[in-house]
Amino acid sequence: MAVNVRIPTILRTYTGGQAEVAAEGATLAEVIADLEKNHTGIAARVLDDQGKLRRFVNVYVNDDDVRFEQGLETATPDGAGVSIIPAVAGG
């Protein structure tokens, strides 16, 4: 599935400054693996040593926080928007 991934400022060094890039994959895990192919180094920023999502990164597939869904196994349907966002505080 082809998806659009929104890249936060702190990861744009890996995408040549691009705020949005295209990627392929049926699940979030596959999308991250595909991102890594084209933008080497990005996966290690988003995933920890055990290959799990880092605890201070939020990932949304369309409007859903993947932690409400199946985490890295969350399905990424064709045309979906994926957002990677650092956690923020306050209210």
Partner: protein
């Protein structure tokens, strides 16, 4: 006179001088990586939150204590310990802080705490009636230092009001973002200061996500979001609560503190403030316990604490305590660490208990709290009853906001006791004379 244009010195690529007092840089709370002061908030290596690092004043604690005590009756008495320029008190800002620490003997009696042992730190007396004025006052100094002209935030209500007011005073444009379904009191307080107020169709977590994306977009260029790109500075404002509480107790750390949790930033920074006081020798090092308070309808941190987890699973909030309705709390893992490290706990109360606690605090101490204060007092009562909070030790309970902002919570049950004609007979008949 002719002016000659000179090319800038090519070799001069030193960082622009940013004067934020004793702040020396930003460090990642997760991995320790250090960064230069700037409008950044997440670690490039691990996404961990960045925190202000200091060159704290060395020297005689007694002298520093005297200097603080001679300072203004607001948070700027602690300027030597905050990321603000030394002349901060001369700049236009709202000068929050130095709110009362109320000795709450009446409340203590009702909930079974020993006399003289219970205190309410009443932050409803701040300029916009919540503790948020403290954090915004720090953020606005950072905004000045980094040259932002628009001040913004994502907010559950109180922060929006604090940003609107502080921006008005300091001459910034403001544009703040809130969930569309907030209490009227908070919407009015966010709108009245003349900035732009945008209601987002969604909950706070949706607002937060929107603001995070705005910051990475050209649309948000030049904008200082107090709780996003200015977050490290913003957070430091909550330390002033720790400083004030200890100073008001005679430079002593209380044994137990009960603190409301939305994102968990305030609780985390109060702990940081206590640690700094110890490091500086301003207070004696002693154990203290930190208790976190949430509403049952939005209790992701409490649920994780009880389950023994060190990750916080987000929730979709549904509670009258809208100021605390953050389902995905950024500092949740640190709250868990702190509660466990200090021997404290995280607990929650339901909406009915929140309303009861608001009325209990009002009836016993004359302090009218918003729903967040109801959460904290309710959790205190629950933990005293459960034997988790020790009734013989000094306990400080935070009231972080004013009940006038959440009138609906108690409006139905706080009406006139009787409605009578203006006659003595009618008054006698109403049965209210003693």
């Amino acid at each position: 006179m002719a002016v000659q244009t000179v090319a800038p010195a090519a070799a001069d690529n030193a960082a622009p001088a940013v004067d934020l007092g004793p702040a020396s840089g930003l460090s990642c709370r997760e991995c320790g990586e250090v960064f230069a002061l700037g409008p950044i908030f997440a670690c490039e290596l691990c996404f961990g939150p960045l925190e202000v690092a200091y060159d704290l004043p060395a020297g005689d604690p007694e002298e520093l204590r005297k200097r603080i005590e001679a300072g203004p009756a607001n948070i700027w008495r602690y300027a030597p310990l905050l990321p603000v320029p030394a002349d901060v008190a001369e700049k236009p800002n709202l000068n929050p802080g130095w709110t009362p620490l109320v000795k709450a003997d009446n409340l203590a009696r009702e909930i079974g705490v020993a006399p003289g042992r219970l205190f309410v730190k009443d932050d409803s007396g701040n300029p916009t009636h919540s503790f948020k004025d403290r954090v915004v006052a720090q953020a606005i100094e950072a905004a000045r230092a980094f040259g932002f002209t628009t001040l913004s935030c994502s907010s559950t209500g109180n922060l929006a009001g604090a940003v609107g007011a502080a921006a008005a005073r300091a001459g910034f444009r403001s544009c703040v973002f809130i969930p569309h379904d907030l209490e009227q009191g908070k919407v009015v307080m966010a709108g009245v200061y003349g900035g732009d107020l945008v209601a987002i169709e969604g909950n706070y977590d949706d607002v937060n996500r929107f603001c995070s994306e705005l910051i990475g977009d050209p649309l948000g260029e030049g904008w200082g979001f107090v709780n996003v790109n200015l977050r490290p500075y913003y957070g430091e404002g909550s330390k002033t609560l720790a400083y004030e509480i200890c100073e008001q107790l005679g430079w002593v750390i209380p044994d137990q503190l009960v603190i409301p949790i939305a994102s968990g930033s305030q609780l985390t920074k109060i702990d940081k403030g206590l640690q700094e006081l110890i490091k500086l020798g301003l207070v004696e090092d002693k154990p203290y316990k930190i208790f976190g308070a949430q509403a049952e309808g939005c209790s992701p941190v409490s649920a994780a604490f009880k389950a023994g987890h060190d990750v916080v699973r987000p929730q979709k909030p549904n509670t009258i305590a809208k100021s605390l309705a953050i389902g995905n709390p950024a500092d949740g893992p640190y709250v868990l660490d702190i509660a466990r490290r200090t021997g404290g706990a995280v607990e929650d109360v339901n909406d009915e208990q929140i309303v009861d606690a608001i009325k209990l605090l009002a009836r016993t101490e004359g302090v009218f709290a918003e729903t967040a204060g109801g959460v904290t007092v309710g959790v205190t009562r629950k933990l005293v009853e459960a034997g988790v909070i020790d009734p013989n030790l000094t306990t400080v309970v935070l009231n972080t906001g004013d009940g006038l902002k959440t009138l609906d919570a108690v409006a139905d049950s706080s009406q006139a006791t009787a409605t009578i004609r203006p006659s003595l007979d009618a008054f006698r008949d109403a049965g209210l004379a003693h």
